[in-house]
């Protein structure tokens, strides 16, 4: 079991982190989110070009870097922390599906960053469904790739990530495997948990920084135990969430038998922890936290949207109960 980043993994994390800090700071995130497409294609061109992130887990023979899920988790943690708008997660989920069991035809264009793909998660609702060139529609064990067809944008709680309803038109069959789809769903759980870990970390960092500069009653608010102790509890959640995500990503790469339990745990724990920390971070900011201008609500809304992205949270707990044979 590997729960600590290697030297190269730390480098990957630092590279992605400093890129996002420079290329997509939160004011830019807001501007991009309000634009026509909801994201900045220039950022994606560099993300996919200079950093090669679109092809991160795509096997080398299809033009990717052939990296593992541990690396994907590291990147998703950073894109999550930066609240990167646009189809990064959507395409990552589609890539997982196609790399694991689809036919590989679409992969080279995805790896090159020229095709934006997404997955319809429950029936016809897809992250970034309106912007995607290809939607993978899942019907039980069968998956087909749909191009074109009607796409109806939905209004989303999270202003930094769009969703759409996708018309179920005929498409090309790309996969059919029951066991394969089970594993893919577990991998989705790990991917989303990695993003949640990033959101959790960033919203905790934000309130820790604020509590070092905001004064009330002649003292910095971070010196009040009512604030400090809450932040300590939030830190405990971060420590556990990170451990759970690293374990799940390790299982995805190295221990397929352990993946189902590790993935269900990741959603059950990290999804909740992320929302709780984002919520408390917002609350501890005081009135400013309730404003549109402040970023606290962006973390809060992403956290809630992610918590229910793969279904109501109770399904992860029910899956844990089943896997544990309770």
């Amino acid at each position: 079991m590997n729960l600590v980043l290697t030297e190269e993994q730390r480098e990957l994390r630092d590279t992605v982190r400093s890129f996002l800090v420079a290329a997509s700071p939160l004011p830019d995130v807001r501007r991009a989110a309000e634009s026509e497409s909801g994201y900045d294609p220039a950022v994606y061109r560099r993300l996919n070009g200079e950093l090669g992130l679109a092809g991160l887990i795509v096997p080398q023979e299809y033009g990717g870097a052939g990296a593992g899920y541990a690396e994907l988790a590291i990147v998703l943690e950073e894109t999550g922390a930066a609240l990167l708008p646009g189809p990064f997660l959507a395409t990552a989920l589609a890539t997982i599906l196609l790399t694991e069991l689809g036919d590989k035809e679409l992969l080279p264009d995805i790896a090159a960053g020229t095709t934006v793909a997404t997955v319809a998660l429950d029936g016809d609702r897809a992250l970034n469904g309106a912007e995607a060139d290809v939607v993978l529609m899942v019907d039980g064990a069968r998956v087909r790739a749909v191009r074109g067809g009607g796409r109806t944008p939905l209004t989303t709680l999270d202003p930094t990530r769009r969703q759409a309803r996708v018309e179920s038109v005929a498409g090309e069959a790309v996969a059919s495997s029951e066991a394969g789809m089970e594993r893919v769903r577990d991998l989705f759980a790990v991917a989303v948990a990695a993003e949640q870990l990033g959101v959790l970390r960033a919203s905790l960092d934000a309130i820790v920084a604020y509590s070092r500069i905001r004064v009330a009653f002649g003292r910095l608010i971070g010196s009040y135990q009512g604030v400090k102790h809450k932040l300590a509890d939030m830190h405990c959640k971060l420590e556990q969430a990170e451990s759970i995500v690293r374990n799940a990503a390790w299982a995805a790469d190295e221990a397929p038998g352990e993946l189902p339990l590790a993935a269900a745990l990741a959603q059950a724990y990290v999804g909740r922890a992320c929302f709780e920390v984002a919520r408390d971070s917002l609350l501890l900011h005081g009135g400013i936290g309730f404003t549109w201008e402040h970023d606290a609500h962006l973390y809060y809304k992403r956290a809630k949207s992610d918590e229910v992205l793969l279904g109501p949270p109770r399904i992860h707990r029910a899956r844990l109960a089943d896997l544990l044979e309770l």
């Binding site: 079991m1 590997n2 729960l3 600590v4 820790v208 509590s211 070092r212 003292r219 910095l220 971070g222 010196s223 009040y224 135990q225 604030v227 400090k228 102790h229 932040l231 300590a232 509890d233 830190h235 405990c236 420590e239 556990q240 969430a241 990170e242 451990s243 759970i244 690293r246 374990n247 745990l265 059950a268 724990y269 707990r317 844990l320 109960a321 544990l324 309770l326």
Partner: protein, 393 residues
Amino acid sequence: MDLEEYRRRARSWLEANARRSRDEDDPGADGVAAAKAFMADLYDAGYSGISWPAEWGGQGLSQAEERAFAEEAKDFTLPTYVFSIGLGMCGPTLVDLGTPGQKARHLRPLLRGEEIWCQLFSEPGAGSDVAALQTRATETEDGWVVSGQKVWTSVAQHADWGLLLTRTDVDVPKHKGLSMFVVDMHAPGVTVRPLRDMTGRAHFNEIFFDDVHIPAENLVGRVNDGWNCAVTTLLHERLSISSGVGMGGQKDNPVAFEALRHTVDTGDHLVRDQLVELYIRSRALALFNQRLAQETKAGMFPGARGSAAKLLLAELSMFQADLATSLAGPEAVAYEDDGRLAGSISLAPALSLGGGTNEIMRNIIGDRVLNLPPEPRVDKTVPFKDLKTGTRQ
């Protein structure tokens, strides 16, 4: 040998040797003799002092092996309770700060289970605020004379040696006038009185020192540098509690997930979900502890983050005993059998108090891990003799 292989070997040794039963509470003379015999076996097999330096009787391996063994041991019952203070706190402090003479004299007998240790920090007026302690050590021609009272001292009724924190200067602020000693618990003037705790048994004691002579060579660290020594002990304490080093194991813990799943009605959806919650919390903490172990192995010292693990363990212990008794219902609190659930709910608060309270852990995480601004303090600059301490009417 890689860590997985080490783990496997440890596990097979435990499977062959760790079946002896534990009476963790007050083992009595027979229990202590059995515990000592077990420690001797553990030592001979190379599993005592795993991360301690080889020249003082340890195995010279890393914290990662130490933690790996402790994790494997959680599935068994080891009668090591009376040694937990020595192994987790006093010994590691001597490894870090002891003189060569102290190491040579004390570490091997500790690891072999020949001598039992206790930690004499808390006093009636100084627990969380241990630097406010009053027990005085006064220098004499050939050493020191100690007078005062300690309290809540675990396993002192069985102890041969104690790690003692005293005041050696009252004219300086409280953190600057403390000194640490090794004290012989059988020395004239030491009185140990077991205290009955809320479980009805005696886990801890009160200790009276009446002009107890301590030889000069028993000073640990430098005179008036006792606070830094105490911080070393407390860091070890939190890490050892959270990782389970020197702790007795979980095998026969009737309120842990593995036990509960067999004793409660999982046909009921509400019960199932409560067990899922227990699984989530237990697994989350176990993985955090494993990550700390792997970081340590990779050369990153967890430091104050050990307080997060200690806090989480205290909360988990309370949560699971609470849950188990609630799930069982009335029979948990009125019984004809050995009353294990009642025993668990009675013992549960111990971990939230001993080794520093949950509030103190949160202060430490806030101050040292998150670097939050400190609270305003009135006690850091005043000479100790002018400071308010203890309980005031």
